[in-house]
Amino acid sequence: MAYFTDAEARQIIRDTYTAVAPGSAEVAHQLYTAAELDGLPPGAVALALGVGHPVRHACLRPGEVVLDVGCGGGIDTLLAARLVGPSGRVIGLDMTPAMVERTREHARAAGLAWVEVREGLMEAIPLEDASVDVVVTNGVLNLSTRKSRALAEMRRVLRPGGRLALADLVVTEALPEDVLRSAPALAG
């Protein structure tokens, strides 16, 4: 059952992520190693909002083209960029303009010129078919009201044989209806 229309859900999510203040970096320190966090812009570390470490499982290689769906503050985008190196390319995608700008700033601060950040929806990824080697996404699919459409888009932009590494939250037991109707639950 959908408690929000697509438009309502997107507005709640944009408003939430535009307003979100950097956290205490506790999330980053739980998910990533100290070596991975070393040298990253503090703002990217403090805005880690993922739920796993898909980049670790993506087996990235120098020269690959990576898409980070829902890049947020950009921590996974930056980690992927380090791994693919300047012969590769990492595209961060986010539907919230404030997050797009934050990831751009963090990539500039980190000196990762092969990072490109685009504004767009995961249900309509603004990339050509079969144009990336790897898709990573971290704690983002649950924000979509059209998850199958978003997954189909991830597959569309992957080249044949391309890889997906996806981390997300899963509910295994029904949550109370008043929780499901709440905007923070949707945005988180």
Binding site: Q30, H57, V170
Partner: protein, 70 residues
């Protein structure tokens, strides 16, 4: 459920590479959840579920076709 959704759009070689419980204390560390919302969750959800309210799952998969050594 997540892996099934991934498979349903045509991905292959699916692997669940990580699966761990996420409780209310961990959710409270995320700045997207206001304190009052976490307090609301503590009241609205039975205490025996607080330690594993949701699961963080990581799935890897491959787009069919092509040759990939990974």
């Amino acid at each position: 459920m997540l892996a099934k959704k991934v498979a349903n759009v045509g991905f292959e070689a699916l692997r669940v590479v990580e699966r761990r419980p996420v409780g209310l204390d961990e959710l409270a560390r995320y700045p997207v959840f206001p304190e009052e919302f976490v307090a609301f969750l503590r009241r609205a959800i039975p205490e025996d579920r607080h330690a594993a309210l949701v699961w963080a799952v990581t799935v890897t998969a491959r787009n069919p076709g092509g040759v990939d050594g990974a």
